[in-house]
Structure formats: structure tokens, C-alpha cells
């Protein structure tokens, strides 16, 4: 029982990270109908920025909002400068541009911050490990039914729930969120009733990248360092989460992320010889395949009707 609870909470905190990246994917997909393959790398860039601010002596409480602002600017700029003009050509061109962006950002991170994991415990570094949002000392545990649960795990989980609550309020009770919904359901009509579609799309991309930045920082905190391949795996789990929840449902993305995180950790924990740490990513592949084959719209997504 203790082991089960421990694995459950580990899964929930990892799943929270997937949920954050998946939320970004879903927000962009709702707006423009594209899958942003650079989502993980945008988040990674912001995570490096947060690390750099930490090196300069800023506490995480200050550097995280700055990192998210950088993310917002990066996402918005990407939409305006790259995605909007190329989307007129073809969906394939958008795909290639996001792949190009993926490659470019990954290179840029390496070029600026070297290809070694940071912070390295060598000389000159102010930080011992990547700053965590929540207390993460070896003694920071809570006792839940006899299982020792990290405060960090609970904190990350609560963070995602709170963030989702805020997004729910945004989408349902503010003018910006309502216009996002309008653009998602019918761009042409939305334009006709006076919604500034371009502005809304720009904001969606910015918002997605900002949430991604939060996810990246949280994951680097769990991982205790930031490196160039940090987000490869996370991205595929997040895509699995978005697929499972439905590509146009933010709630589905959060739930999907949590489910994937828990399944992955339980599977690796209870079948150490068959799945273990190596084949964890196989869980993501299986989920993506099964959902796409059986119910392509996911748990909460709207089914796409195709006209021939």
C-alpha cells in the first residue's frame, strides 16, 4: 500500500508536467489546428532562461514569472512571424517549420549554455541543483497512510489543479477566453462579429508557450538539472496525454497527462522486468496508437466530421 501510494504520487507529479505541456499543445491546436512540435523546445529555452536568471542571483519566485513572460513573447512572436504567413501555404509547411524551430531552439540552447547538464556542480556555479518551486530537501516528506510522499510531488500536483482552475475561469468568464473559444469553433464567424482573430491566435500561442515554460521549470526542478534532451521524452508523453484527452479539450489534456503519468509509473514499478525504466516510453506509444485507432477524438474531444 505504501509503495502503491508512493508510485501514485510520483506518477501524479510527473503527469502534472505532461499535463502542462499537453495544455500548451491543446491551446494551440484549438486556435490554429496545428500540432506544435516545438512546444517542448520552447519550454526548454525558457527553462534555460530561468536557470540563467538563477545564476545571476534571482530567486525562483522572481525568475519563473520572467521566464514565463519570455515564453509568452517567444510563442507570440513565433505565431506572428512564422506560423501565420506559412499557414496560408499548407499544413505540411507548418509541420516542417515547427520541426525547423525544434532543431533551431535545441541548437540555440546548446550554443548559449553548452551541451552539458546544468547546473554542473563544478566551480563558478551559484546553484547546486536546478531551483525547485517547492521544498525539496531529503527531509521534506509528508506521511500519507504510512507512505512518505515528497512535498514537491503534492505541490506540483496542486499547482496544475490551480492552474487548470484559472484557465477554466479564463476560458469561460473573460472576454479573451470567450473569444478564444469563438475562434476555435468558427474562425470566420468570429471575425465577422468583430473578434480580432489575429490577436487571439497570437495570445493563444503566447499562453501555450508560457504554460510550457512553467512545465519545463517544474520538470527541471524534479530532474534537478536542465539538459538538451530534457524535453524529448516529455513531449511524446504530453502528445500521448493530449491524444488521450482529445486534442481540443484542455480538461482532457490535464486528465490525460495525469493518467499517463500514473500508468507509466505503475507499469514501470510493478513490471520492472517487462517494462521497467527502459520501456516506459512504450506506454506512450501504446496509448497514442490505441486511442488513435479506436477513438481518434480522444476521451473528451469533439469528433471531426470530414466532408469528401
Amino acid at each position: 500500500m505504501e509503495l502503491f501510494l508512493q508510485r501514485l504520487f510520483d506518477g501524479l507529479s510527473q503527469g502534472s508536467v505532461y499535463a502542462l505541456i499537453a495544455l500548451g499543445l491543446v491551446i494551440i491546436y484549438r486556435g490554429t489546428g496545428h500540432l506544435n512540435f516545438a512546444q517542448g523546445e520552447m519550454a526548454l529555452f525558457c527553462t534555460y532562461v530561468v536557470y540563467q536568471l538563477g545564476e545571476w542571483g534571482l530567486p525562483i519566485g522572481v525568475s519563473l514569472p520572467i521566464g514565463m513572460l519570455v515564453g509568452f513573447a517567444l510563442g507570440a512572436a513565433t505565431e506572428v512571424a512564422l506560423i501565420r504567413p506559412i499557414a496560408k501555404k499548407s499544413a505540411f509547411a507548418v509541420f516542417i517549420v515547427t520541426i525547423g524551430l525544434f532543431q533551431f531552439l535545441n541548437w540555440l540552447d546548446g550554443a548559449i549554455w553548452s551541451d552539458q547538464p546544468l547546473p554542473n556542480s563544478g566551480v563558478g556555479s551559484v546553484q547546486q541543483s536546478f531551483p525547485s518551486l517547492f521544498p525539496n530537501e531529503p527531509t521534506d516528506f509528508v506521511n500519507v497512510f504510512g507512505a512518505a510522499i515528497k512535498i514537491q510531488s503534492i505541490g506540483v500536483f496542486l499547482l496544475v489543479i490551480v492552474l487548470f482552475g484559472l484557465l477554466y475561469l479564463l476560458f469561460n468568464f473573460t472576454k479573451l477566453g470567450l473569444s478564444m473559444n469563438a475562434v476555435a469553433s468558427n474562425p470566420e464567424s468570429a471575425k465577422l462579429v468583430g473578434i480580432r482573430t489575429n490577436m487571439v491566435l497570437m495570445t493563444s500561442w503566447g499562453l501555450a508557450a508560457a504554460i510550457g515554460a512553467l512545465g519545463g521549470v517544474v520538470f527541471a526542478g524534479i530532474n534537478s538539472n536542465v539538459n538538451l534532451s530534457l524535453m524529448f521524452g516529455v513531449f511524446i508523453y504530453a502528445s500521448a496525454a493530449a491524444t488521450l484527452g482529445g486534442f481540443d479539450s484542455p480538461g482532457g489534456a490535464v486528465l490525460g497527462g495525469l493518467i499517463i503519468g500514473v500508468i507509466e509509473n505503475l507499469a514501470a514499478g510493478y513490471a520492472p522486468r517487462w517494462i521497467g525504466q527502459e520501456m516506459k516510453v512504450g506506454v506512450a506509444l501504446a496509448v497514442i496508437l490505441i486511442v488513435l485507432m479506436v477513438k481518434p477524438s480522444g476521451l473528451f474531444g469533439t469528433a471531426k466530421v470530414e466532408r469528401v
Partner: protein, 381 residues
């Protein structure tokens, strides 16, 4: 200025073709005989990438099925050769056929979900495949076969000082070009693979099967209505593309003499490299991947030591001296993004537009070929 018109199949068009072919053949022979070992090595890298990108082109450029999973097929080739050579003592040449068949079967299996899953979703599935493959090679259950994270050793040809080259029936074609060195030998294997892959792609593309591939790419529903069998055509495209992609994988195992799950081109990064190389060169054209991979290898080799600011040529130094890593991939991804805006069909597409201003190739008018009288079907009895 009015562009010069050249009739397809005329003497002038054949002369141009012959001159181009002669230059290429001359280059192909000049490199292993006269270039330095470093240059030969770079060329092998380029040829490997070329073959893989051409295989991907068959699937993505012609059939329109997005795959970011070709590193897995490349890896199947590398591991098949590695396992058979190091564990069972096969000759590396024999392993190519096995790798081809294994990759064909796996590729055809991947085509099954592709019957339902389209576009970027297929990209997701194949991306997951690319991530799963190296992990699967590290899987404890398969360590007896794959060697786990350590990988396999001694997967290449065994050369000795006394017998520095490989002979076929006592004849040593490589040594007569330049012996005593394995590099030219690997170069020739790579060259043969590229030629085979090119001819296979060309053969498919210019045949009935190729036309059904393009039909699927342009409009799947219409293709089905016109009588293209989606399931078997997609299975063929996936299988052949995977099988062709495994051949350069075999070469990579032979060339480096070891295979690990993190070798170059076996991870997701490999898939992405194949993809961007193909798109920069020109998706959906036979020459696209060739030009793309030459450009890619040229840029990465040229900028390989640029992490040291002193190695950068003077004019460019202020732009790149801040970079901690070689700027090759960065430059190439910028080229990729810019090309998508100015020339969606890559460098080959750009060249075709440029060339059309000066030379137009007039296709042979229909009905000038040898006329084959249709054989009347025997009347039903």
C-alpha cells in the same frame, strides 16, 4: 530573353545528360582514388545520409505519409548487421539481404495504423516509434541479443595487415583503385547502396505504383475511387521505404565497427536529420535528397570546429564566436525555415524555377513512340 527550348529525347538533351553523368562518374572515381582520407570519410557520411533521405522521400515526398520514425528503420539495419556479424559470424555482405527483409516487414506493419491515422497524427506515432526503438535495444529482456546499452562490437569487416582489403573471388577491385585502406572500400559500399536506392526509387516513381503513390498523396479519397488499393499501396510504400532505409544502417554498422543504441542516426535526432535534409533538397524529387545531404554534410563539416572562435573565418567571426557548440545544425535549420517561405519544394524546386527562365524542356509529344497495336481480347466463347 526567350528561353531556349530543348526537346526531350533530342540529341541536345542526351548530350547534356551524358555530360552531367560523365562529371558525376568522374567525381565518384576521383574521390576514393585521389582525395584525402578525411574527405573520403566525409563523403561516406554524405552518402549514408543520402540513401536514408532518398528512402524517406519515397514515403514522405511521393506518398505524403509523414514519418519521423525512419531512424528506427535505419537502426534495424544497423542492428541486423551487428547481431549477425558479431554473434553469428556472418559476412557483412550477406546481412544486407536479411536487414532488407526484416525492415520491409516492420515497415509494412507500421503501414497498418497508417490506414486510419493521417497527417501529423501519423507523425506522432512514428515519432514515438523513433523514441521507443533505442529504448527497446536497451531492454533487459533483449540484452542477450542486442548487448543492451553497451551495444555490439566488431560488427565490421575484419581486416589484417597482411590482408588489408576484401576480395571477391580472388579479384580485388578496390585495391586496384587504392589498396591498404578500408576507407575507399567503405566508400564503394556506400556508393553502391546509394545507386541501388536511387534506382529503386526511380523505378518505383516512374512506374504505375509510383503514380498511385502520388495519387494517394494528392487526394486519398480520389485515389481510392480511381481504383488504387490503399492498403496494399501504402504497405508497399512503407515497406520499401523502410527496407531501403535499413541499407545505409547496415553500412553504418560495418563502417564504425560497433553499434550502440545512441549511435548517430539511430536516435530521434537521426529521423529529424533525414527529414530536414530531404525537405531542404526538395521533397518529391529524385535529386532533392542528394543535394540536401551534400549541403548538410558540407555545412556541418565546414563548421565542425567553430566552437573554437579562432577557427571561424574572419568575416563570420562576430556572428558565431558566442556559440559554445558548432553552429552547423543552427544554420541548417534557419535555411530550412527560410526555404519553406521562399521555395516550398526545396533547392531542386528553386533550381527548376531558375532554369525555366533559360532552358525549357519540351516533353515528347504523345504518340511519337513506337506504336504497339492493342491486342484484341479474344471473344468470349
Amino acid at each position: 530573353m526567350k528561353p531556349i527550348a530543348i526537346r526531350s529525347g533530342s540529341a541536345a538533351s542526351w548530350a547534356i545528360r551524358l555530360v552531367c553523368a560523365a562529371i558525376l562518374v568522374y567525381l565518384a572515381f576521383w574521390i576514393p582514388t585521389s582525395a584525402s582520407n578525411g574527405v573520403i570519410d566525409t563523403c561516406i557520411t554524405a552518402l549514408t545520409l543520402m540513401a536514408a533521405a532518398m528512402a524517406l522521400n519515397l514515403l514522405l515526398g511521393y506518398t505524403g505519409q509523414i514519418s519521423i520514425g525512419h531512424s528506427a528503420f535505419f537502426g534495424i539495419g544497423a542492428y541486423t548487421t551487428g547481431i549477425l556479424v558479431s554473434r553469428y559470424g556472418w559476412s557483412p555482405f550477406q546481412t544486407f539481404a536479411v536487414a532488407f527483409i526484416v525492415a520491409f516487414v516492420v515497415g509494412a506493419l507500421v503501414s497498418l495504423p497508417a490506414l486510419r491515422i493521417k497527417g501529423v497524427y501519423l507523425a506522432l506515432v512514428t515519432l514515438a516509434l523513433a523514441l521507443v526503438f533505442p529504448q527497446m535495444m536497451k531492454w533487459p529482456k533483449l540484452v542477450w541479443l542486442t548487448g543492451g546499452a553497451r551495444g555490439l562490437d566488431n560488427t565490421g569487416f575484419k581486416f589484417t595487415k597482411q590482408n588489408p582489403t576484401y576480395e571477391i573471388f580472388g579479384w580485388n577491385p578496390w585495391g586496384s583503385l587504392r589498396g591498404e585502406n578500408v576507407k575507399p572500400f567503405h566508400y564503394w559500399i556506400a556508393m553502391v547502396i546509394v545507386v541501388i536506392v536511387y534506382l529503386a526509387c526511380r523505378g518505383v516513381v516512374k512506374s504505375r505504383a509510383g503514380r498511385s503513390l502520388v495519387a494517394i498523396r494528392d487526394n486519398e479519397t480520389a485515389a481510392a475511387v480511381m481504383g488504387v488499393n490503399l492498403a496494399s499501396t501504402k504497405a508497399l510504400a512503407f515497406g520499401l521505404s523502410a527496407a531501403l532505409c535499413s541499407l545505409p544502417g547496415c553500412l553504418s554498422a560495418i563502417r564504425t565497427g560497433n553499434v550502440t543504441p545512441d549511435s548517430t542516426n539511430l536516435t530521434v535526432q537521426g529521423s529529424i536529420t533525414f527529414l530536414i535534409v530531404m525537405v531542404v533538397g526538395g521533397a518529391g524529387s529524385l535529386w532533392g535528397p542528394i543535394i540536401g545531404s551534400v549541403l548538410f554534410v558540407f555545412i556541418t563539416e565546414r563548421t565542425g570546429d567553430w566552437s573554437d572562435p579562432d577557427a571561424i573565418p574572419g568575416v563570420l567571426r562576430p556572428f558565431f564566436s558566442w556559440s559554445n557548440t558548432p553552429p552547423g545544425t543552427g544554420i541548417f535549420s534557419i535555411i530550412l525555415i527560410v526555404l519553406m517561405f521562399v521555395a516550398p519544394f526545396g533547392i531542386v524546386g528553386m533550381w527548376r524555377r531558375f532554369q525555366a527562365r533559360f532552358v525549357t524542356v519540351v516533353p515528347r509529344p504523345a504518340g511519337t513512340g513506337t506504336i504497339v497495336e492493342p491486342v484484341a481480347a479474344p471473344a468470349e466463347a
